[in-house]
């Protein structure tokens, strides 16, 4: 099967996945006993006002009619209005989606930068002190609940040392007196583009703790993965032969071992990316990070289902696209993998 055929088939399948998720979320959110019209009008609203609101949003129509209407407007890029905040969901997403992506991407960068070196070094020094220490640390790393680690780091770096802020994306002074212009929505990028270096520094010290906490699980996962495959390769006969032939140790490590370890690691990284988007929910709450996680948590608590639907849809699309990307990438890297 050619690569293009494969791509088209996968995309068609992806559409079904998205529609499926959307339908299930829609049905579930409409089965939950709640009254969105009352949510919109507030607790002390008059009966007339509630009826008027029900009419306005078509909430008095049957569920299939509402679903068709919802799908139509979603295709046109209109996610509707949040019943809770009464603002257009699209406007909110423009703020929250980049905030989450910025956090997740930085945490992945950290994971790669820290995880790969640790994995390589432990693999190369298998059974030595560093490896043992690394194993203890990575095992603890995957087992520690992220919100607990977040609280401990806050305690150390905010309460005791006063080095890092407690939460948020930016200090108040920058928010009010020198805000970063909204270009991409990624604070670090926007501040760099506009040369607003003071704000860049401020954004960095705000993002670093949440990004690190979010990175801990991927760091451990990646380093264990790399370590495992390196050990596996290093015990192979052909490596022994290469070593016997006088091949320098670092060449053995990079040419044979690391190369073999990269393909499965890539899969892990991309899956971890998707994992981090949902994993960021807890982190965002602890660090008061204004991202998708915090947005959808508020929405779920308040039964604000247009927001729940919109966020679910976006996360699903991201997930599907990442999976597709990984499959293609793997095929490109590893000739043993066939598409089909």
């Amino acid at each position: 099967m050619s690569r293009l055929d494969y791509l088209i088939r996968r995309l068609a399948l992806a559409i079904f996945v998205v529609i499926g998720v959307l339908t299930i979320t829609f049905i579930v959110s409409h089965l939950v006993p709640s009254d969105p019209a009352r949510l919109f009008t507030g607790p002390r609203a008059s009966k007339e006002k509630i009826e008027e609101t029900r009419e306005r949003f078509g909430l008095n129509k049957s569920i299939p009619t509402q679903f068709v209407k919802y799908v139509k407007s979603t295709i046109q890029g209109d996610f509707g209005i949040s019943f809770k905040t009464k603002t257009a969901i699209l406007t909110d997403l423009k703020i929250f989606l980049p905030a989450t992506l910025e956090l997740v991407i930085l945490s992945l960068l950290l994971a790669v930068m820290i995880g790969i070196p640790i994995g390589v070094y432990s693999g190369a020094h298998w059974g030595k002190k560093f490896d043992l220490l690394g194993r203890v640390l990575t095992t603890s790393g995957v087992s520690i609940p992220s919100f607990w680690l977040a609280l401990v780091l806050q305690l150390i770096f905010f309460s005791w040392l006063g080095w890092l802020p407690l939460g948020g994306r930016l200090s108040r002074d920058f928010l009010i007196f020198a805000p970063i212009p909204h270009i991409t929505g990624f604070n670090l990028i926007d501040a760099a583009i506009t040369g607003h270096w003071e704000a860049w520094k401020d954004a960095l010290i705000h993002i670093i703790t949440p990004a690190f906490v979010l990175a801990v699980y991927p760091i451990c996962l990646i380093s264990r993965m790399i370590r495992g495959s390196i050990i596996e390769v290093l015990t192979q006969d052909y490596v022994m032969a290469a070593r016997a032939g006088g091949m320098p140790e670092h060449l053995v490590l990079f040419r044979f071992a690391l190369k073999n370890a990269i393909a499965p690691t890539l899969t892990v990284i991309s899956l971890v990316f998707a994992y981090s988007i949902s994993g960021s929910v807890l982190i965002e709450i602890v660090f008061n990070w204004p991202g998708l996680g915090k947005y959808i948590t508020d929405a779920i608590i308040n039964a604000d289902f247009p927001v729940v639907l919109a966020v679910t849809l976006i996360v699903t699309i991201i997930y599907v696209l990442i999976n597709l990307f990984v499959d293609l990438l793997q095929a490109a890297i590893d000739p043993r993998i066939r598409l089909g």
Binding site: P33, S34, D35, R38, T41, G42, P43, R44, A45, S46, K47, E48, K49, E52, I81, S82, K84, T85, K86, T87, A88, T91, D92, I95, L110, M113, I114, P117, V120, Y121, F157, F158, S159, G162, W163, L164, P165, L166, G168, S171, R172, D173, L175, I176, F177, K201, D202, I205, I208, A211, F212, P248, H250, I285, V286, N288, P290, Y295, D298, A303
Partner: protein
């Protein structure tokens, strides 16, 4: 890189550097600037439309951006009602004709002049849009713009209009030339006359206000020019930030922390009277609670003091009937004390000498208060042979069930109430008048309903008589055990102690003026 040692070194260095980089930030955030007041609140206001915003979270922000015609002064002040956007007013003897003289030189946020036409517009618009608090205007028959700064009201019956117009909800004046739609207001726009206006709003995250330069009160050098409301749902985080000075004002901290905050350096705690009453509604449609003796027995078994100590950190005060003790119209003689012997006797008289009942307390999600109260009550009820089940459900589920199938709904439901404008009517009528939406317990007593309406009618013409009638209504409701009246809740403000100019009125208990605050030098 021929030497593997070098490579190892680089790898190790890489790890160390990244770790260091991720841990040690280059200095910390600067403290909030002197001109910025930072406020930590629990959740986003549900509605920042001044015509419809109808809960404490809405008042928390609207109060700084909008003003009403009159101001409800702190009890104990010389006058009950003071000037705000109106400087003076008079009425005819039977209080059916009112003339308000408006403040001159007032500008809305959009630059429009505030005048009598704007008052007329605001009230007409709020009523036409059927906004939730618009019922406060129901006594008004017509309005007449006499001149630029004078407006005349004709009322259908005698009405205390100066009190009504001091309302903490729905009485905010808005500019006739602004867009004024629900969506517009909630997208971070404001059209009031208040000292601050919306600068930006990120839902669920933050609200920023900046000062309204043309504010009629003028501006001095040391006032705050910006207010930032950070939405921080976690009470411990808000407390930490207040202690460290990252917040100037922290809303709704845990009651258990108040004692230690009083001792904390840099923090000031203000415990204020509020017109807020907490009670357990009783379901009159569901046996055995339709039996007065059973209700009386239950009210006698309630551990009032233990509940105040256990759930409100000892900060609440014993209630006496529905109306909070600090408010006018309260009846001080209705307080009930726990008396298990009496409870047992009453229960036996009702035909349940051994108890043998199972009752349900329904508490709404997201608020652990009523669940905790139920847990304190459980062992007391067990002594009477009554089992109390606590169910945590969404507010909508509770109220839907109460409306559509009351026979299978709660036995008790936790509820609190505060007035729209300061009148006992808002308590008695809204929660206990037959057929009203918030009468989830289905209390129905036509004598009580008539008495409340009579007391309300007399509010304007004969305040003393009206107070007497409200007291009677309170007694009638307490005698019927219309609810278990638990306690009056105070309002607690925790702020940095370097702020001066703090001023509070329970007429607007969710807020205090930020315009009047200054940072001590």
């Amino acid at each position: 890189m021929k030497n593997p040692k070098v490579m190892h070194l680089i790898l190790v260095l890489g790890v160390v550097l990244t770790l260091t980089f991720s841990f040690i930030g280059s200095g910390t955030a600067e403290g909030a600037s002197k001109k910025v007041l930072s406020v930590g609140i629990v959740q986003d206001p549900n509605d920042t439309d001044p015509r419809s915003g109808y809960d404490s979270y809405a008042q928390m922000v609207l109060y700084h951006m909008y003003e009403a015609l009159t101001y409800y002064n702190r009890p104990g002040s010389k006058e009950e009602i003071g000037p705000w956007l109106a400087t003076s007013w008079e009425s005819n003897k039977d209080k059916t004709q009112w003339t308000f003289h408006l403040r001159q030189g007032v500008k809305f946020h959009d630059g429009t002049d505030f005048n009598a036409a704007a008052v007329k517009y605001t009230i007409e618009n709020t009523v036409a849009e059927k906004m939730a608090p618009s019922w406060i205007y129901s006594p008004i028959k017509s309005m007449e713009v006499v001149d630029e700064h004078t407006i005349k009201f004709s009322c259908k019956a005698p009405a205390q209009l100066d009190l009504i117009l001091s309302s903490g909800f729905g009485a905010w004046m808005i500019s006739p030339s602004a867009t004024n739609t629900v969506k517009w207001f909630n997208a971070g726009n404001s059209s009031g006359t208040g000292p601050y206006k919306f600068a930006s709003r990120v839902p669920g995250t933050r609200i920023i206000m900046e000062h309204h330069k043309d504010y009629w009160g003028g501006w001095k050098e040391d006032q705050f020019t910006s207010i930032i409301f950070d939405i921080i749902p976690d009470a411990t985080v808000r407390e930490q930030m207040l202690r460290s000075g990252d917040l100037d004002v922290a809303y709704e901290l845990n009651h258990d922390s108040i004692e230690s905050l009083k001792q904390a350096p840099g923090v000031a705690v203000h415990i204020e009277p509020a017109f807020k009453s907490n009670f357990l509604l009783v379901n009159f449609k569901k046996p055995p609670l339709d039996n007065l003796k059973v209700r009386q027995a239950l009210a006698q078994s309630f551990p009032y003091d233990a509940v105040i100590a256990g759930t409100y950190g000892g900060l609440g005060t014993r209630g006496s009937g529905l109306i909070p003790q600090s408010m006018w119209g309260a009846n001080p003689d209705l307080s009930v004390t726990q008396d298990m012997a009496k409870a047992k006797k009453l229960l036996a008289e009702a035909g349940y000498p051994k108890g043998g009942l199972t009752l349900e307390l329904w508490a709404s999600e997201g608020n652990t208060l009523y669940k905790n109260i139920g847990e304190i009550w459980q062992p007391e009820l067990a002594k009477l042979g009554i089992k109390l089940d606590i169910r945590v459900l969404s507010f909508n589920t509770i109220t839907d069930k109460a409306k559509t199938d009351p026979e299978h709904a709660f036995d008790f439901m936790g509820q609190d109430w505060y007035p729209t404008y300061v009148t006992p009517t808002d308590f008695f009528y809204s929660v206990f008048h037959a057929g009203e939406f918030f009468n989830f317990g289905h209390y129905a007593n036509s004598k009580f309903d008539d008495l409340v309406l009579k007391a309300d009618d007399m509010t304007a013409s004969d305040r003393a008589g009206s107070i007497e009638a409200f007291k009677q209504a309170g007694k009638m409701l307490a005698d019927d055990v219309g609810a278990i009246f638990m306690y009056d809740a105070p309002e607690i403000y925790t702020i940095r102690s370097d702020l001066e100019g703090y001023e509070y009125s329970p007429g607007y208990s969710a807020v205090f003026s930020f315009y009047k605050l200054k940072r001590k030098k």
